[in-house]
Symmetry: C2
Amino acid sequence: MKAKVYITLKQGVHDVQGEAVLGTLKHMGFKGVDDVRVGKYIELRLDDLSRSQAETRVKAMCEKLLANTVIESYSFEVIDQ
Amino acid sequence: MKAKVYITLKQGVHDVQGEAVLGTLKHMGFKGVDDVRVGKYIELRLDDLSRSQAETRVKAMCEKLLANTVIESYSFEVIDQ
């Protein structure tokens, strides 16, 4: 079983890295990009667990380690793979 | 229109950050995690473009800036939003 975790800065938190990427894209001639937000994408391979066990565990990992919930939001999906 | 870009290290490329996260999860008592891979998740907000234009543009951005294609793979999805 595999979990895919997406971590993004919360709305309103200044995204310096995203701004830098946006600036560079414009500088390179890519028009039509309004905003860039840079976050983290984490893949976890999990031992055999039920889906609900896996979801509970991944949620706890996000809350306790993977995301800084003061400034970051997270979402995840658990897939059979 | 919005693009969600997922960038991961290619298989076989040593993921030091993923190893550190795995070690910490184990140390914190999270059992049943076999592997962790840490990548990037980038959201781009795009001006009004057709879907195929947006896809072509995002692919070019990935190839030229967002991903280091020597060691990283990327995938993306374009969504109406």
